[in-house]
Symmetry: C2
DNA sequence: TATTGTTATACTCTATAACTATA
DNA sequence: TATAGTTATAGAGTATAACAATA
């Protein structure tokens, strides 16, 4: 197709489309665990190193704090996440995974990894690694909690 | 940060975040042209090689046909796009850019290219090119109208 | 007086269904 | 009878503002 506008083969446009399409792929892959991509990220962040408050979680997910409430309500009802009052500052809720939450996160992470493999299948293993390095390079300054992973 | 979950440094997660963040960057860059990213893509597709109907446009943008209506109404009111009845099938509207529409698309494309440069600034020129090749490889089968650009 | 989390409300966006005109 | 485009409506998702409890 000779006349395709350069915009439509630019890295930026392809990045946008890859992002949205991969989002769909993820949500589908997580359907078996009855999780959305967003819920999976909540589990992942809550299960991470630093014990997060709701406000800190909202910043990492780039979501309004009011949205976090409903997310945690549901994951709490399903017995995957607990809210614990911070004894040092009783306004804050510290978040932690239950044992079931940890198991669900692990299963979901496997499903996501497989989906990612499938999505990137047109690339060979070393190209996939290099793509990851490029993206890490680009995003490092924009995702401060990555540190220098 | 030693304990960062591998999910958060995976190609897939970084792809998602890069996509959403770049979306924000684009919308901001296009603010000067008073266009959203979506409107810019409409102009770009309509200005492209094949003369599209609204239905075909909705497929390329992956948007419901009912959403296209409002988009074209506004871009039409602003004198950037025209709807022309297809003489061969009078149910269809063929879309075309006005002269002003073509100028707006060109200006916007420049702004977007600059924004993309900024977004990918952590990468050198040859890494940017390679990133684009990787993304093209991955997305080629998912964006059929790219052909083998 | 400021901050964390919560609730209620309003707004935006999208999906669904029904309609017109063409085929 | 099916399709392209349109309109109206309802639903989902989000942002805004106000509130209770802590600091």
């Amino acid at each position: 197709m000779t006349g395709t506008n350069p915009v439509l083969t630019s890295a930026g446009y392809l990045l946008l489309k890859a992002g949205t399409q991969f989002h769909g792929v993820i949500d589908e892959a997580l359907g078996a665990e009855d999780l959305t991509g967003r819920q999976f990220l909540v589990l992942t962040f809550v299960g991470g190193e630093d014990q997060l408050s709701q406000l800190e979680l909202s910043r990492r997910l780039n979501l309004d704090p009011t949205i976090i409430v409903g997310l945690l309500d549901e994951l709490g009802d399903r017995g995957l996440v607990n809210r614990v009052r911070d004894p040092a500052d009783r306004r804050r809720h510290l978040l932690e995974l239950t044992a079931a939450g940890r198991r669900a996160q692990h299963r979901a992470a496997k499903a996501v990894a497989i989906a990612e493999r499938g999505f990137l299948a047109p690339l060979g293993a070393s190209d996939r690694k290099q793509l990851r390095r490029f993206l890490l390079e680009v995003m490092q300054s924009r995702l401060p909690w990555l540190g220098d992973a």
